[in-house]
Symmetry: C3
Amino acid sequence: MKSYRRELTFNLPARRGFVNITPQVKAALKESGIQEGLLLCNAMHITASVFINDDEGGLHQDFERWLEKLAPEKPYSAYAHNGYEDNGDAHLKRTVMGREVVVAVSGGRLDFGPWEQIFYGEFDGKRSKRVLVKIIGE
Amino acid sequence: MKSYRRELTFNLPARRGFVNITPQVKAALKESGIQEGLLLCNAMHITASVFINDDEGGLHQDFERWLEKLAPEKPYSAYAHNGYEDNGDAHLKRTVMGREVVVAVSGGRLDFGPWEQIFYGEFDGKRSKRVLVKIIGE
Amino acid sequence: MKSYRRELTFNLPARRGFVNITPQVKAALKESGIQEGLLLCNAMHITASVFINDDEGGLHQDFERWLEKLAPEKPYSAYAHNGYEDNGDAHLKRTVMGREVVVAVSGGRLDFGPWEQIFYGEFDGKRSKRVLVKIIGE
């Protein structure tokens, strides 16, 4: 069994945003040399998300609007978590979008359907945050 | 280490529906011959879901009603994604229900609690869509 | 390849609650002797959750309030599932919070960011329920 580990770092200029990280994950898989296995990709921070969906700008606007409806950023005082912080909403938004994805590796490639792309979802940005890629297999 | 891959195909007659796919996943596991490992089962499409819950018809009605409340299908114009499509809601519903499950394989079986069953959740049906089963182990 | 399996049991005195289970999961990992691999931790019951977030009491209050807003416990008659049961809401709450987490194992440790902790989320308690830890690797 082989295993491989790599960290990706992101620093988004806004509080919230989505980044297509499929190219970086593919590069990590290639570097690993693993042909058959499982790939885990997860946010290492609890106010960020890694998820799989469509790379379509309208959809990302819909996600932003929808998450703000489900767990609004303001008023900050609505969250018991916001004693010394203001990111209570970000913990809830990340919960909806998910912490991690697990992707099959087949024939040395991400074993994806036609539109699957991996995204980093930031809900409390303007600082450096990390994503972990871990691959095991052969 | 052994690895195994299989695609399952579904074509639901309605826009939305849930299918218990546990028998097909068990058959794939048996065919793999793997005794100890991890099994990934994921939707290959971004408007569908694979999730684990109870095989109880009332609950599935509750899921349908609840998802329509959280992310209504109509009006289609409510979604920026719906320029050329009408499935903006399906992307959000699938996000709530999840893309994938990872299941332990122990003694050649799905290592499940008493009521756990695997479902395919369709949110934009009336066409052929795929689910991936990938198993690694020994 | 090595594999390891362990069940953890919880019996919460209230209908709902969150328990930090990171120490038990770390102990399982240590016992497994696995240095590099993947660890799956999942609720074996469909009205409970395993998730990763911050160990902060205010946040847990926010989760409780938010989940009650998204899927209220009462009136019980609001759920088609509640013919012979009263836990329809618990199935939906667990869906939001997720069934499982997959964690990278690197150098014999849970490969976590600075604030990541694993929680058991109970939504229909007052009885004994199980969590599965399955680890594969080397």
